[in-house]
């Protein structure tokens, strides 16, 4: 590889997260032989890689919506609460319906939950775009009140459901892959297609760079802002259904707890700047996978699961530092301009 292209590669926003992911997987493969192997059983794929995909799906899905919100220079802290509300509504409806095992109850419950979270997303969008409240505080309102609302819906109880159709969402398989993974993959592909093959992505970025300028240039900044919050809430709602379906219960206290932070992290690790105006869907996907692989790695190696947090902190700091323009500037200043070899070493010890 020529020095020039190596330099360009390390400057790419995707380079460090992808490298982190590869290193983590390589580490796992060495420590746990057979980590990367997949086996087919009853027509379903099993293996650690599938587990990573499956466990990481809710976070990845929420991070997908969060990416668009962050691209408009916003942030949505309320997704964790939205997860809890969605799970609470769906499970309460199913549990209280005349036939809790029927497919109809599951469908109506899920649709009801999604309809409600769309309203919640529109509420966030209204606060941010119409009233002009800063996103972090506007969504803090729902973050605080939302979990209370979810507990109100479930009456503080953990509601268990035994509905075969509903259980499919979190535990079923299609084409050998978990249903949730396929669903999330389709959504990722759709969003990438719609925002990158039309002007929508550019309009979103325009809103993030300067809302007033975008509005004056004829971009419907208000509509776009509301739309991204609604979409994020919808993603969180679907994630809530997946989580509650996976454990066949709605736990208003713990469903989606701190998932907003993981989702924001995934977005940041993927190279989307919190200052808005630029985003990467692929980056977010990689970011979410890095987080989940990290968690799985800590479990596989046999370190106390609680210590994951320390590793998470180290990874966040490392990735953010490597992506920070300021760090790169400092590093560039320190070493001679055109020497290919020290590029990787130099970055390794800042």
């Amino acid at each position: 590889m020529s020095p020039d292209s190596l330099g360009r590669l390390t400057r790419s926003n995707l380079f460090w997260p992808v490298l982190a992911l590869i290193l983590l997987l390589a580490f796992d493969a060495i420590v746990t032989p057979g980590f990367l192997s997949l086996r087919l059983q009853d027509g379903h794929l099993y293996g650690s890689l599938i587990d990573i995909l499956k466990n990481g799906t809710p976070t990845a899905l929420i991070a997908l919506g969060m990416t668009l919100v962050v691209a408009t220079r916003g942030i949505d802290l309320s997704v964790g609460a939205t997860v809890a509300i969605s799970a609470a509504v769906a499970c309460s409806w199913i549990a209280s319906s005349p036939d809790p095992t029927s497919g109809g109850a599951a469908l109506v419950g899920a649709l009801l939950a999604l309809a409600l979270v769309v309203v919640l997303g529109a509420w966030n969008g209204f606060l941010v775009s119409v009233l002009g409240i800063q996103p972090i505080i506007a969504t803090l309102v729902l973050m605080t009140a939302g979990r209370g609302l979810a507990q109100l819906i479930t009456d503080g109880q953990i509601i268990t459901v035994a509905n075969p159709l509903f259980a499919q969402l979190g535990g079923g398989f299609v084409f050998g892959l978990p249903v949730s993974v396929v669903l999330a993959a389709v959504l990722f592909a759709l969003v990438a297609l719609i925002t990158r093959r039309t002007a929508l992505g550019m309009l979103i970025e325009a809103v993030g760079i300067n809302p007033s300028a975008a509005r004056l240039a004829g971009v419907r900044a208000r509509g776009i802002t509301v739309a991204v919050y609604v979409f994020t809430a919808l993603c969180a709602g679907i994630a809530g259904l997946m989580i509650s379906s996976n454990v066949t219960a709605a736990d208003a206290n713990n469903a989606g707890l701190w998932i907003e932070l993981d989702a924001i992290l995934a977005v940041v690790i993927g190279g989307t700047l919190l200052s808005g105006g630029r985003y990467s869907i692929v980056g977010t996907l990689v970011g979410a996978l890095v987080l989940q692989t990290l968690t799985t790695t800590v479990y596989t190696v046999g370190i106390t699961p609680e210590v994951t947090l320390v590793f998470k902190a180290v990874v966040i700091i490392a990735v953010c530092l490597l992506q920070s323009p300021k760090t790169r500037e400092l590093l560039r200043r320190r070493r001679p301009a055109i020497r290919p070899e020290p590029v990787l070493e130099g970055v390794g010890r800042p």
């Binding site: 220079r73 942030i75 606060l127 009233l131 002009g132 409240i133 800063q134 972090i136 505080i137 506007a138 803090l140 309102v141 729902l142 973050m143 605080t144 009140a145 939302g146 979990r147 209370g148 609302l149 507990q151 109100l152 503080g156 760079i209 300067n210 809302p211 007033s212 300028a213 208003a252 932070l261 924001i264 992290l265 940041v268 700047l273 919190l274 200052s275 808005g276 105006g277 106390t304 609680e306 210590v307 994951t308 947090l309 320390v310 590793f311 998470k312 902190a313 180290v314 966040i316 700091i317 953010c320 530092l321 920070s324 323009p325 300021k326 760090t327 790169r328 500037e329």
Partner: protein
């Protein structure tokens, strides 16, 4: 390379307009003689002080409503219990006020509270005496805050992300030290925990309240009456302008996070005294309470506006909601969250219309 950052700051028309007012108006009632009545009225209704006045009125109204509804509510002790039960939160809110006024945010405070408690409990149970433990815990908090501030300022990373990492790091370190709750049996800690200072009218406060009140007083003095405090307001109003004015932006920003770290450690010690234990899972989500208290107390999350006494009132309002729910008896605990959320909403919308509309 820095174009992104400056674009964001200079690209918004409202920041420039708001700046000159921010540092000049805030610590208004400091003039020596008694100002004319109209001037005093104008101070009370200025967009920077009015939210605090509203919070105060709300607090009085809530206290009045409680007194009308419940028999034993109207007493000095119920009021003082707000201080006793929330002493640690008051200290956290003071630190948070500094950070938010400077235009940043600190998500790590809850975890630092837990870490302080766990470190203190672990060292005390290992036979250390109380004084070195206190000093060490305060140093740890200060160092964590300082480190976050240095990263935020010199590497130009967003405070949200850096303090989020700090939150994970501190919480993770708690688990590394101990997963189980460690009881504290140190004589000094238990003495402080059981100590009570009698006040007139058959009421009392705990020693922790004294610490909290001192922190509030020192915080208010530093933020409202020193050159450092003025610089914090200036940075929150517009960091770019503050730099151009030749203010010590870097040093001030780093110090603000160090102050928040120190306050978190003090809060952590107060919490350890209050619960007489150190537990990794304690104080989860406390950062949100501190932020909510600060916002309800009239501090703008975009920076440049806020008073320390407002944050104190914010904590008291949050405490009063808890008191209501415990007096009511039949109300479930989740109503606390819903009411806090509603209050946040009211205050955020209120501020929105008081402070001039950007853009």
């Amino acid at each position: 390379v820095n174009r992104d950052v400056t674009d964001v700051e200079t690209g918004r028309p409202e920041v420039g307009r708001r700046v000159p007012a921010a540092p000049a108006e805030v610590p208004a009632p400091r003039s020596g003689g008694t100002p004319p009545r109209t001037a005093r009225l104008r101070t009370l209704t200025s967009p920077r002080v009015l939210p605090v006045v509203v919070t105060f009125v709300l607090f009085v109204a809530m206290f009045g409503a409680g007194s009308a509804r419940y028999d034993s509510f109207f007493s000095g002790q119920v009021l003082l219990n707000l201080f006793i039960d929330n002493a640690y939160l008051i200290v956290l809110a003071v630190g948070m006020t500094f950070v938010i006024v400077s235009g940043g945010i600190d998500l790590s405070v809850g975890s630092v509270v837990a870490l302080s408690g766990v470190v203190a409990a672990k060292l005390l149970s290992a036979g250390w005496s109380a004084l070195p433990v206190l000093v060490l815990v305060l140093l740890i908090g200060l160092t964590l805050g300082l480190a976050q501030g240095l990263v935020i300022h010199f590497l130009e990373l967003q405070p949200f992300v850096v303090t989020l990492a700090g939150m994970f790091l501190a919480r993770g370190l708690c688990y590394v030290i101990s997963v189980e709750s460690i009881p504290i049996r140190d004589p000094l800690f238990t003495a402080i925990a059981q100590g009570s200072i009698p006040l007139p009218g058959d009421t009392f406060i705990s020693p922790s309240v004294v610490v909290a009140v001192v922190v509030v007083a020192v915080g208010a003095y530093v933020l409202h009456a020193t050159r450092f405090g003025r610089t914090v307001y200036a940075i929150g109003g517009n960091q770019h302008s503050a730099t151009l004015m030749g203010l010590r932006v870097g040093r001030t920003k780093v110090t603000v996070y160090a102050i928040s770290g120190l306050c978190s450690a003090i809060g952590g010690l107060l919490f350890a005294v209050y619960s007489l234990s150190g537990y990794s899972l304690s104080a989860v989500g406390t950062e949100l309470d501190a932020i909510a208290a600060t916002v309800i107390g009239g501090t703008l999350l975009s920076g440049g506006v806020g008073l320390v006494v407002g944050s104190l009132l914010g904590v008291l309002v949050l405490g009063l909601i808890q008191t209501f729910i415990s007096f009511e008896g039949t109300l479930s605990s989740w109503w606390t969250k819903i009411v806090i959320g509603l209050l946040l909403l009211v205050f955020v919308v209120l501020q929105r219309f008081l402070v001039r509309r950007p853009g």
